[in-house]
Amino acid sequence: MHELGIVFYIVKDVKQVAEENHVEHVSSVVMDIGEVSTVVPHLLTDCWRWAADKEDVLRGCEMKVNTIPAVTLCGDCNKEYETVKFGKTCPYCNSKNTWLLRGNEVEINSIIV
C-alpha cells in the first residue's frame, strides 16, 4: 500500500501551495504518473479520497491522473521503444544496454482552484 504514503506527501505539498496562494479550497489535483512508476492509479485515487476528505482545504477535491507512457532508449542502436511491451531488451537489436527515458514520474502537475 505505498500509494497511501505517497498520498500523504501529495496532501502536504498541495496544502502548502494552497496556503502560499491564499486558496481556500482546491477542487482538483492533476497528477502525472509514469506507466512504470509502480504507482497504481486507482489505488492512488482511492487513498486520496480517504486522506483529502480529512482536510478542509481538500474536502471533495478530485484527483485526475495523467498516465505518462514509458519509453526506453537503446544505448547500442539508439532507437526508442515501448518499455511495457519489450522490457529491458531492445526489440530492434536485442541489446540489454537500455535506459528508461520516461515513465517513472510521480509528479503533481497542477491544481485547479
Binding site: 500500500m1 505505498h2 529491458k88 510521480v106 509528479e107 503533481i108 497542477s110 491544481i111
Partner: protein, 224 residues
C-alpha cells in the same frame, strides 16, 4: 466565488523527501556517523544476518541499531539480547517504509555522540523502501535463496538503489532452483555497480565478507 484557476506545480512527490535525505546525510557526515539502510522482503533473514555481523564488528566500531516495523519490538529485543548492541524499535504507524523524516526522528533517540555506525533495518518490503531515500550513506538489501533468483527482474528499483546485495540462505540452494550466476547477471543488468556477497547467516558462512565491507565503508566515510 472566483473563477477557476489552474496553479502549475510540476513537482515530483519525492522531491521534499530527497532534500530531507540529502540534508540528513550532510549532518551525519559532520558528526562522523555512517548510516546503513538495510532492506529486504519479510523473512529474508535481516535480523539473523545483523546479529551475526554485529558480533563480528562490535569490538571494532561503536554500533547502534534502529529496527523499523509496523508493530511489535521483537527485533529490537532480539538484537539487544543476542549482541548487547544498543537497539531501538521504530514503529511506522502502518506505513510500509521509512522516509528521511522518520529516520531523523529515530536518530534523535539514539545517543550518537560516540557512535560510528547506525544500522537501520527497514520495513520488510521490496517496493516502497526503494522509493524513499532515508538519508543513509549506503543502501544494502538481502535476497534470500527461497525467494528465487529472478527477483532483480521483478523488483528492479530495489536492485537499482542498492550498493550491496547480500544473498542469504545459501545452505538451502540445492533445494531451490536458484542459480547464483544468473542472479548476479540479473542484478548487474539493473545496477552494474552493485556488489554481491553470498552468505549463510545461520552458519555464519560469508558473513565475514559483509562485515569487512561494512567496516571499510565506515572508515571511508569517517576519513574522507
Amino acid at each position: 466565488m472566483d473563477a477557476i484557476k489552474v496553479i502549475e506545480i510540476k513537482k515530483s512527490v519525492f522531491e521534499d523527501n530527497d532534500k530531507d535525505a540529502e540534508n540528513l546525510r550532510k549532518e551525519l557526515k559532520d558528526k562522523g556517523v555512517f548510516l546503513l539502510n538495510l532492506m529486504s522482503a519479510p523473512g529474508s533473514g535481516k535480523t539473523t544476518t545483523l546479529i551475526q555481523t554485529l558480533n563480528r564488528i562490535k569490538d571494532k566500531v561503536h554500533v547502534a541499531v534502529m529496527e523499523a516495523d509496523i508493530d511489535s519490538d521483537v527485533d529490537a529485543v532480539k538484537i539487544r539480547e543476542a549482541t548487547g548492541v544498543s537497539s531501538i524499535q521504530l514503529h511506522t504507524g502502518g506505513m510500509c517504509h521509512l522516509d528521511a523524516e522518520m529516520t531523523r526522528q529515530g536518530l534523535d533517540n539514539v545517543e550518537l555522540k560516540d557512535v560510528d555506525l547506525v544500522v537501520l533495518e527497514n520495513v520488510g518490503n521490496l517496493v516502497c523502501p526503494a522509493e524513499f531515500d532515508t538519508g543513509a550513506v549506503r543502501n544494502a538489501m538481502i535476497l534470500s535463496v527461497p525467494e528465487g533468483d529472478d527477483k532483480p527482474l521483478k523488483y528492479p528499483l530495489m536492485f537499482t538503489v542498492c550498493d550491496l546485495v547480500i544473498i542469504n540462505k545459501t545452505d538451502v540452494m540445492p533445494y531451490f532452483d536458484f542459480d547464483l550466476n544468473r542472479c548476479k547477471e540479473y542484478i548487474h543488468q539493473r545496477n552494474p555497480k552493485a556488489q554481491v556477497i553470498p552468505i549463510c547467516a545461520k552458519t555464519g558462512e560469508g558473513v565475514d565478507a559483509f562485515a569487512q565491507w561494512l567496516l571499510a565503508e565506515v572508515n571511508a566515510w569517517k576519513n574522507n
